[in-house]
Subunit: 530 residues, 2 copies
C-alpha cells in the first residue's frame, strides 16, 4: 500500500473543510461548489497542457491485440501517474493477456477505499469512415466533422471553445476519463485539496476485446482489490447532456436456433406445398416468443423477474425526455408498447432478433425450399434472472412447439425427422447486476455529482446495454456504480470517435469532487472521519 | 407446306391398318401394340447406329449463350432431319435470339396438324461435379456414376443393357427426345408405317435461357405455327418409372417484401425493447400469410381458385405412390397437411418462402436492431388466378396489417414512419395453363401412350412447377400437352445429366405411336380420316 504523497498531507484538513457539505458528522459545511470553482480556475490556465497530455496519450495505438501498442500505452500511463506520485503496477491474469494497471493513493485517516475503473485499450479501427488517422488526434469543430474543420490547439494559458471535440480513437472510450483523472490530481495539488478516501486506480487492458481474462485476474488478486465501492468511468452521459448515475446493467445471453427442412433444397413448384419449409418454421417460432409490444411469450419467463419499483420507474421516466426527438431522428413515428418511455422499457427483460437467415432474397432468390433457417437472438436479462433458467425455459418452449432440441449439428445430418429438430447454441453471456438506489454510497456519489455539475444527475436504475460489471460482482462481491463523464454523441466504437472539450473539463471536476468529498459524504459506520 | 416424302406414301394405308384400334371410324382394328413390336424389332438391330447419332449430337456444346456452339447444333440437327426428308428452317423472333428450328411432315389425307416441341439448347455447365467433359458423352453403368464405370458402345447389330445411361449435358433435357424423334422416323420408314397427322417439329433454342424471345417469336409467326395441338416432349416421367401425361403447369409469381426499422442499426441493449425491429415484423408478416398446413391466409385469396374436381384428385392421388419413400430420402418424417398426397397438394395454389434476410446470424450476428428485413416469396398459381389479382390481394393484406405499400425504395429513405412501410417488388411471373382431362386429344394421346408402354399412364392434371407453356397459350391459343419420356433420375440441370437407355428406346416407340396413330385416335369432327 502506498503512502500518501507529501503534497497531499498538509492540505488534507484544509481541503476537507473546503469541500464538505451536509454531512452530519461535520460541524461547519463550506460553500457549495468550491471544488468545482477551484478546479475550473486552475484548468482555465492549463488547457493547453491538459490537451498536450491528452494528444500524446491518444497518439498511441491501443487495440488490445496490438502488443507493441499496448506496451507503449502502459509505459506512458505509468509515467503519467508516476508524475503525480502514483505508482502503477501491471496486474496479470494467471493465463496471461494484457495487464490491468493498478495504482494506490491513500488518504490520511480515510476509512473508505474506492476503486476508480477505466480501460486503456480501445476499439479496433475499422478500415473506412475516419476523416484522418484515428491515432493522430485533432481538434474539430463538430462531432461529425471532416478534415477541413480542424482547429489549432490554444496557446499556453489561453482557453478554448468548450464545444470543440478531440477526434481520436479512445478519446471518449475510455482514455478521456484517464486524462481527467490525471488533471484532477494536478488540480487538487495546485488547490491544496486532498482526498478523503483511499483511492485505487484500476485500468483494464482488455475491455474492448471481451475481457476474457478479467474474471480470472480478479479472482487471482482478490485480496489486493478489496474496496468498499467500485466507480466505473465508462460510457456516455445522458443524450440531453445531463449527468447521470448508472446503478447496474442488464445481462445478455445470445442464442441461435436453427430449424430444418428437407436435406436438399427442393424445387418450390414440385414440392413447395408439401415439404415443410424451415423459413416458415423460423417465422412461426419468432412470432411465438415475443409479441409486437415486446412482451416475451415464453411460458414462465417472468416468474423470476423482479418488477421495477415506483422510484425506479419514476427515475427511468425522468430520463426519457428526448424520446420524441430520438424517434424523429430514427425515422420512426412510434415505438413499441404505445410509445412507452425508453428508460422504463430498458428496465424490463427483452428479446431482440439480431438476424434471420434462410434461403436467398433479391438476386440470390431461387424458387426453392431451403434446407434450414436460423434466427439469432439476444436476450437482455434483469437482476435475479439466470442464464441457466433462461436456457431451460427456451428449451421447454421449443418442446411445447413440438421440437426436439439438439445441441449437436451432427445429430441433424442423419435424422429422419429433420423438421422436428431445433439446433440451439448459446454464447456464454452475462448476468445482470444492480445496486439499489438507497445504498449510502449511491446517495453520496449522487450528492457529489450534483455539486460537480451544479445540477441533479439522473439516476438510471439499470443500463439497457450489458457491461462486464458482473465479473466484479462475481469475483469480488463488489458494489459497482457507473459514473459516465463523456458526451453521448461521441461515436464510440465507430469512426471519428470524439470527446467534447466541456465533458473533459467537467470530468476533471467530477474526479476531484469524488476524491475530495467521498469520505465525508459517505461516512463509515465505524472508524474516524477526520 | 412440305409434301409427304415418297417413302411414306405407299405405306400409308398399310400402316394405318396396322396401327388403328378402337377408333370408331375404322372397320378393322388391328392387334394392340403392333407399332411397339415393329419399332422395337427394328431398334434391336440398330442400337449402335442410334447411339452413334446420339453421341454425335451430344458432343456439340449447346448453352444458349454460346453462339458458335448453337450454330453447330443447328447445322447438325438440320442435317439429321434432312436425312429423314424433313427440311428444318430457322425461325427468328424479330428482336433476335437463337432461332427455333421448324420442320413440316404432312400426312396424306390427314385432318389434324400436331406440333412436336423439344428444345435443342441445354443448361449451362457448372464448373464442378461432372465426372468428365459434359460434352464428351459416355455410356455409364449408373445414374450417379464415376469415370471408372464407363461401358463400351455395342458392336453394330448387338443389343445393350437397357439400364445403362448416356452421360452428357442435354442427354435428357432435351436432346434425348430429338434423338428419339429421328429414330422413330427411321423405324417408321423401315416398317412401312406412315403418319396419320400432319406433324410439325418445333425445336426451341432458348428454353434453358429463359425463353426471353419466345412470346415475340410465336406472335410473329402465328400463321405458320397453326396447329390443332402442341405436344411438349420435355421433363421427366414419374419417379416410379411409370409413364405420365401432364395437362398443365402452375403459374408462378415472385415477390419480395421489405420491412423497416430505425434508419441506423441500434444497440439492442440500449434500444432493443423500444425501437421496432423489422426482423420481428417480417416474421409476423410470414405468419400472417400462410398457416403450417400451407393454407394461404390472405383475405379472398381462394375466391378465384377453381377447386380440382374428383377425377383430378383421384389422378393426383394415384401419382403419389412414392410419397413415403420420398419423405424418408429427404429426412422428413412427415409433410404438410397430415401427409396429404404430393400430387393433390400441387393442384392447389401455394406460397413458398424462398428466403429471409435480416441483420446477421452466426459470426455475423451483432447485438443490434437491424434497419430492414426482407422476405422473398414465390406464389404458385392455378388456372383462373391472375397476377394482377394476386398483387391487389397482397397489397390489401399489407394494408390490413397497418402498412403503407411503397413501390419506390427512395420513398423509404426520407420517411418519418419507416416501420409502417412495406416496399414490395414483383417479378413478371407466369400464369397457369391447363387442358381438361376430358379433351379428346388428351384421351387420344393417353390411349396411344398406353399402347407404347403397355400400361396405363398416370395423368398429372397440373405440374407443380411452372413452364413457359403460357407463351403458347397466350400467343397462339394452343392446346398444350406434355409427354415426358426421360427417366426421373436424369439429373437435369445438374452435373452428370444422364438418359437411361430404355427411356430412349421407349421414346422412339412413343413418337412412332403418336405419329402413326393420332389421326385415328383423334378423329376430326369434319374432314376425312383415311
Amino acid at each position: 500500500m502506498r503512502i500518501l504523497p507529501s503534497f497531499f498531507r498538509g492540505a488534507a484538513l484544509a481541503s476537507a473543510l473546503l469541500t464538505m457539505q451536509g454531512a452530519a458528522v461535520l460541524a461547519q459545511p463550506t460553500a457549495v461548489g468550491s471544488v468545482r470553482t477551484a478546479v475550473n480556475a486552475w484548468r482555465r490556465t492549463h488547457e493547453r497542457e491538459i490537451l498536450d497530455e491528452a494528444f500524446a496519450l491518444l497518439s498511441l495505438p491501443n487495440v488490445a491485440s496490438d502488443s507493441a501498442g499496448i506496451r507503449s500505452n502502459i509505459a506512458a500511463i505509468t509515467a503519467a501517474f508516476a508524475k503525480r506520485g502514483v505508482v502503477m503496477k501491471p496486474m496479470y491474469a494467471p493465463s496471461g493477456g494484457n495487464p490491468a494497471l493498478v495504482g494506490e493513493l491513500d488518504a490520511r485517516g480515510a476509512t473508505r477505499t474506492v476503486m476508480f475503473y477505466a480501460h486503456y485499450d480501445g476499439q479496433p479501427v475499422a478500415s473506412g469512415g475516419w476523416d484522418g488517422d484515428p491515432f493522430k488526434p485533432e481538434l474539430r469543430k463538430y462531432a461529425n466533422s471532416v478534415a477541413g474543420d480542424a482547429v489549432a490547439l490554444p496557446a499556453p494559458g489561453d482557453t478554448i471553445n468548450p464545444e470543440l471535440r478531440i477526434r481520436a480513437r479512445s478519446a471518449s472510450d475510455d482514455k478521456g476519463p484517464i486524462i481527467a483523472m490525471l488533471a484532477a490530481l494536478d488540480a487538487m495539488k495546485a488547490g491544496g485539496m486532498s482526498a478523503s478516501v483511499n483511492v485505487r486506480f484500476f485500468l483494464d487492458g482488455e475491455e474492448e476485446a471481451g475481457d476474457n481474462h478479467l474474471g480470472e485476474l480478479l479472482r487471482a488478486h482478490k485480496a489486493e482489490l478489496k474496496a468498499d465501492a467500485w466507480l466505473f468511468f465508462d460510457g456516455p452521459m445522458h443524450v440531453s447532456g445531463a449527468p447521470q448515475l448508472v446503478l447496474g446493467a442488464r445481462g445478455v445471453s445470445g442464442v441461435e436456433v436453427t430449424f430444418y427442412g428437407p436435406n436438399r433444397a427442393l424445387h418450390s413448384g414440385h414440392y413447395g406445398n408439401w415439404a415443410s419449409n424451415p423459413a416458415f418454421a423460423v417465422a412461426e417460432f419468432i412470432s411465438s416468443v415475443r409479441d409486437a409490444n415486446g412482451h416475451i411469450k415464453i411460458a414462465n419467463f417472468y416468474t423470476d423477474v423482479m418488477a421495477p419499483n415506483a422510484t425506479d420507474i419514476a427515475s427511468a421516466r425522468a430520463l426519457s425526455l428526448t424520446d420524441d426527438s430520438l424517434r424523429t431522428s430514427l425515422g420512426l413515428s412510434h415505438t413499441e408498447a404505445n410509445n412507452a418511455a425508453l428508460g422504463e422499457r430498458i428496465m424490463l427483460p427483452a428479446l431482440n432478433i439480431r438476424g434471420i437467415r434462410a434461403g436467398g432474397v433479391g438476386s440470390s432468390a431461387t424458387n426453392a425450399i431451403p434446407t434450414s433457417a436460423s434466427v439469432s437472438i439476444d436476450f437482455r436479462l434483469v437482476p435475479n434472472q439466470t442464464t441457466a433458467h433462461l436456457r431451460a425455459l427456451l428449451n421447454a418452449h421449443l418442446k411445447t412447439l413440438g421440437y426436439t432440441v439438439v445441441a449437436d449439428a451432427a445429430a441433424v445430418n442423419n435424422s429422419k425427422d429433420r423438421s422436428r429438430l431445433a439446433y440451439v447454441t448459446w454464447d456464454s453471456g452475462y448476468t445482470s447486476v444492480r445496486v439499489p438506489v438507497a445504498t449510502p454510497v449511491v446517495q453520496a456519489v449522487k450528492r457529489l455529482m450534483a455539486k460537480s455539475y451544479a445540477r441533479e444527475p439522473f439516476v438510471l436504475p439499470i443500463l439497457g446495454g450489458s457491461l462486464p460489471l458482473f465479473h466484479f460482482v462475481d469475483a469480488l462481491g463488489a458494489t459497482v456504480i457507473t459514473v459516465p463523464t463523456v458526451n453521448a454523441d461521441n461515436s464510440q466504437h465507430a469512426p471519428n470517435e470524439n470527446l467534447r472539450i466541456q465533458n473533459l473539463w467537467d470530468g476533471i471536476v467530477v474526479f476531484a469532487d469524488l476524491m475530495v468529498g467521498l469520505g465525508r459524504e459517505w461516512p463509515a459506520t465505524k472508524g474516524v472521519v477526520p
